[in-house]
Subunit: 479 residues, 2 copies
């Protein structure tokens, strides 16, 4: 695959069509484009072909065909990833394998609190199917209308419900995976407890498709929460927000499903994106918390939230807050969070990070990072927000609107180095939930300990000896 | 290690003492015995030596010494396992490496809801340390007074709280592992979210020490539940118990921490072991459920349980029940569960199984298995009980008290085959929580699919190419 002689693309395309059928192979450059461009539209590449198998057997067949032709395979779900993990970087020698046609819910079992779904199912489609059965999937994220469950599993997606339900890994009961040699690992059971030897399926969760192609997932589901209560609170600082979070875990019996922190600039950016937005709280608090508690059955969630807020108000932990009186009002509160993201996009190219540190050091970490950014980039707007209950923040740096493309590029580069240095001091993660892909590979490899690198390489080579799955993602190896 | 020439044991012992120091090496056969005998006392073997390193560095040093001397290493925690996974099977060529001296709680962080503990910490010691800090570890099992956390992680232990808190895997935030080449993998962080490449630490959870030696664990903790309410209920059947479980999940807002099913024979056996035992419920119900709900803070757990029981009584799902009025009464209810195990032991050698199927098929599975056992072994007492919320039951077969050792052996063997056949029909697991070890290796290997076997072998050989860690555990490979 690293041979210097460029292969004959049209011959390869013809061979793929011959073996897999014309309906499963896209060769037209225009038709390929949406599979070869990343979510933000920052990077567009190309591929020998885009393959669209519609069954597990067809995926296996496609993998074998690519192996025979010396082509590498880049698996792709909804292509909503943020780290270039699902788009090719060698148009001459790589194909994209899209799972989008594998979109059946194979089984929904309310008696077992589980479902079996194919990798190409859109996350929201699964959420809705679960809801129809009185069930609930504990995975929810911004891209849920487009992202696919296979991608969620392969990237170990996080999102807003992690503090209650965990990451994507925690939703997995079983997997079906096509291995690099085209064989199919059927580990699709829904057993809650199964200690038959080492749990090999864990390897494919968060592997970003470098070890195998997830084709179906058996998911753990929960009773549908019948009561969901949402509040927007004003707090003194991130430190206060974290104190509030700790108190809420105890007082609210770990029934919190979301706890999002936003700085005041978030409201400003949200209004820039959506001027009609109603913000039912004073705009001058040093920080805001969007909090959600949910549950089913006999616990009165509304009363629980109100009692909790009354107590923390009396104790001086929080000074101002509003509880949504309806689902529409709750949706409006969440709109602030979403519009804030749009507002950032409107300010032009900027640095987005996705970092985590231990919860006990989060406030100190953000304070130090922001202080250093303020000193180094006084002209920029720095914005720290996120799923603070998980120790996960997005520290973003927005260059002034007047900055040109070259200056922005430089600021983004330097600000990332600045933040990474603080993360390293706090033993934090440069990628809390977005993964490594190709975008963060350099930063990742630079921080890999020798024993860890040794394990990664040994496992990759053991399972994918010809390096045909998603080459250059996570780690770079030579054939 | 498979060379036919027997090595000179005393030379090997002398070399180990020279390199590791006399206090860390047990060579006396009598002193070795407790490390070389399994929990039930059914199997006693021997070892070249028992090594007792007291630090991570010392474990690494011991592993390197063994590698140099051509010795294999069998890691051992509290030696409470039930499948011969931690005791040697080749006294001429294996050492036991006990983690018992690595028993420090390195860190307890209430602000982070986490702790870092060494592998040799006894589970109960960690539970108590967490409790002292207002925290709670979601792992609890019968052997908690003896088992060690390193063993719990290496076997992915289950226990009674799985339905709320998950298996041992779900409690792990980070691991420190000594690899077969004596290097140390430091993945001990406490990050809740960390998607920096594939999560290699997952490999060592449930690997029963065949890939590395867990030396320390970073654990996820919860707020200490301040209210724990326990009830013993009489039900019509296992089917009714499962219906009750489903209803309880919804009605009790997923706050259940235990849901144990017992047949009426359990009460009889419990009384045989502990004649003074008080059983505060009629002894003639077709089934019993021991149920616990717990929580912290503002939710009134007692009121929740009472309201739930009133509702299901009114709806005819349950006819008789008693709620413990104090922690002492609750402890007495749990004593029934424990005494039942002692009662079985008093009946002499018998078949113990640990199986799981999907919850939606559990009742049907147990019915079929019991029916076939009744027909094949009419003289035996069959007993099905367990953590039914997880689809996990122990179907045990007790030969008549008059049976001699040879007959018992035969019954145990044949009854296991009989149950395994039903498990296979239901796509269940022959080992829900106990693991494979050496005891179940044959049954495990006979059921391994080719792709799964290929992966297991590839991973084992990639990480432990000289097969020096826990040979013959889980899988048998030739050097």
């Amino acid at each position: 695959m690293t041979s210097p002689v460029a292969p004959d693309i049209s011959e390869l395309q013809a061979a793929l069509v011959r073996r897999l059928g014309a309906t499963s192979v896209i060769t037209d450059v225009a038709d390929q484009q949406r599979y070869c461009r990343d979510w933000h539209g920052d990077v567009t590449t190309g591929a020998v072909a885009v393959l669209r198998p519609d069954s597990t057997q067809a995926v296996a067949q496609a993998v074998r065909a690519c192996a025979d032709l010396g082509l590498a395979v880049v698996p792709q779900g909804g292509n909503t990833g943020l780290v270039l993990g699902a788009t090719p970087d060698d148009p001459q020698r790589q194909v994209v394998l899209s799972l989008e046609r594998m979109n059946r819910v194979r089984q929904m079992d309310p008696d077992d609190f589980s479902a079996v779904v194919e990798a190409g199912c859109i996350l929201q489609q699964i959420q809705e199917a679960a809801d129809d059965a009185g069930l609930f999937l504990g995975l929810s994220l911004g891209a849920e209308g487009s992202c696919q469950i296979g991608g969620n599993i392969s990237t170990n997606a996080g999102g807003i419900n992690v503090l209650r339900y965990g990451m994507a890994r925690d939703q997995v009961l079983g997997l079906e995976v096509v291995l690099p040699d085209g064989t199919i690992l059927d580990a699709l059971g829904s057993l809650r407890k199964d200690n038959r030897g080492m749990d090999v399926k864990q390897l494919f969760i968060g592997a970003e498709g470098i070890l195998g192609i997830v084709t179906a997932v058996s998911l753990k589901l929960y009773p549908r929460p019948e009561q969901i209560e949402t509040a927007l609170l004003g707090v003194d600082s991130l430190q206060s927000a974290i104190a509030l979070y700790r108190r809420a875990r105890r007082d609210c019996c770990d029934l919190m499903t979301a706890f999002e922190f936003m700085p005041p600039a978030a409201l400003m950016l949200a209004r820039e994106a959506l001027p009609s937005l109603t913000v039912p709280i004073a705009a001058d608090h040093p920080g805001y918390v969007l909090m959600e508690i949910s549950g089913s059955g006999l616990v009165d969630i509304r009363a629980l939230l109100e009692q909790f807020l009354e107590n923390v108000m009396n104790d001086g932990l929080m000074h101002d807050g509003v509880v949504a009186a309806s689902r529409a009002q709750a949706a409006n509160l969440w709109k602030i969070r979403e519009a804030m993201n749009e507002g950032q996009a409107k300010r032009g190219a900027h640095l987005r990070t996705d970092v985590s540190v231990s919860l006990s050091r989060l406030a100190e970490f953000v304070e130090q990072a922001e202080e250093r950014l303020r000193q180094a980039f006084p002209q920029c707007l720095t914005l720290s927000y996120g799923h603070v209950g998980d120790g996960n923040v997005h520290i973003n740096v927005l260059p002034p609107v007047t900055a040109n493309a070259v200056d922005r590029e430089q600021i983004i580069h330097d600000a990332k180095d600045c933040i990474n240095a603080v993360i390293d001091e706090f033993h934090g993660s440069i990628s809390a939930e977005h993964g490594i892909g190709r975008l963060k590979r350099g930063e990742f490899e630079a921080r890999l300990s020798e024993p860890r690198r040794h394990l990664l390489v040994a496992i990759k080579r053991a399972i994918d000896p010809h390096l045909m799955l998603n080459p250059n993602c996570q780690i770079r190896l030579d054939t």
